[in-house]
Symmetry: C2
């Protein structure tokens, strides 16, 4: 299903170094060992990195494009849990961590490039490097903060306010997301969202 269409380039190495250096102090050795286990993958718009019933075998670093994660509820309705953009890690963490079957879908919303790493490869690298552990701990904390905010917002706010906050936090990104998908994320109907955006 996945095609490794391009090799890990020097440009990618530099980009990864810059990104990791925001959260830790990686040595060249750390970058080398991480690069070795990261597999570059190109994904076409609407293709899936993961489907319900599969085991999430890879965790992905988003190089370009973006993804949505969703499930289909008992009534057959798609429920969008989150979006993953450039420089974020992407996986069903439950399925990846426990190697159990997922009920989630991860789909590319735009043509995308990711770097995938398997659980065993990642664990092996992490057994040896303090700085890579610091890095993954720190990006995990960033996710925790984002999740905490999302839980607060959806516990409390109306669809209208959710949209306004989402827009103010992600002014550029909001233009890239199809209306029906954003509506699913916000828990409102596309018609309602359309009204709120003043498009009708």
């Amino acid at each position: 299903m996945l095609f490794y269409k391009y090799r890990f380039s020097l440009g990618m190495h530099e980009r990864l170094k810059k990104h990791l250096s925001k959260f830790a102090d990686p040595l060249e050795e750390d970058l080398g060992s991480l690069s070795k286990v990261l597999r570059p993958v190109k994904v076409k718009k609407k293709d899936f990195l993961l489907r319900q019933g599969q085991i999430c075998k890879y965790k992905y670093f988003v190089v370009s494009g973006f993804f949505r994660m969703y499930f289909i509820n008992d009534k057959g309705v798609e429920k969008t849990i989150n979006f993953s953009i450039e420089d974020w890690w992407l996986a069903d963490f439950d399925s990846f961590g426990n190697q159990t079957k997922t009920h989630l879908f991860i789909q590319a919303v735009e043509d995308a490039e990711v770097l995938g790493v398997s659980r065993s490869d990642l664990e092996e690298v992490l057994t040896k490097s303090l700085e890579l552990n610091r890095y993954f701990r720190a990006v995990g904390e960033r996710v925790r903060i984002a999740d905490q905010r999302r839980i607060e917002y959806i516990s409390d706010l109306s669809g209208k306010d959710l949209y306004r906050i989402f827009q103010s936090l992600n002014p550029d990104f909001v233009q890239r997301v199809p209306q029906y998908m954003l509506a699913s994320y916000l828990g409102v109907t596309p018609e309602f969202l359309s009204k709120v955006r003043g498009l009708k």
Copy 2:
């Protein structure tokens, strides 16, 4: 505000070792350096570890008892974000990580004991120990999985189904939580919850 009423005991050391060993392979040296920066604190039922407007200076490991984290919305209604029980870490991760003022409250629901650590002390310890980084990364992933599930449930389920799932996942814990607090967590009224539980 916080009272260090008891010293870090040998029993506590053993308990921490057992807990950490579930997620990493800590050396005695790691346990020693972590123990040195952990401050045991006893908290009375209904007392606060954190209040709106403060900076979350400590991250807490719950030894006994449990806590709820909530905020007060624009309408003056308390919204419970989560509960933290034994062997979980507790903080407003946003306020703790960025040392900004919080809008959250963290309150003890029962008499409790926690181990608190400041951000600078924790960072210093983590600069030196691979295994402690592994541990905090792994417990962070556990939190991520719990958050992901919570986002799915509250995006999709009715109050009734939320209660049933919460009860099936936490059969013992559900007995310890006051009704109004559980209702706030599930986003329903206490009256509704009471009906669902068949208490009325």
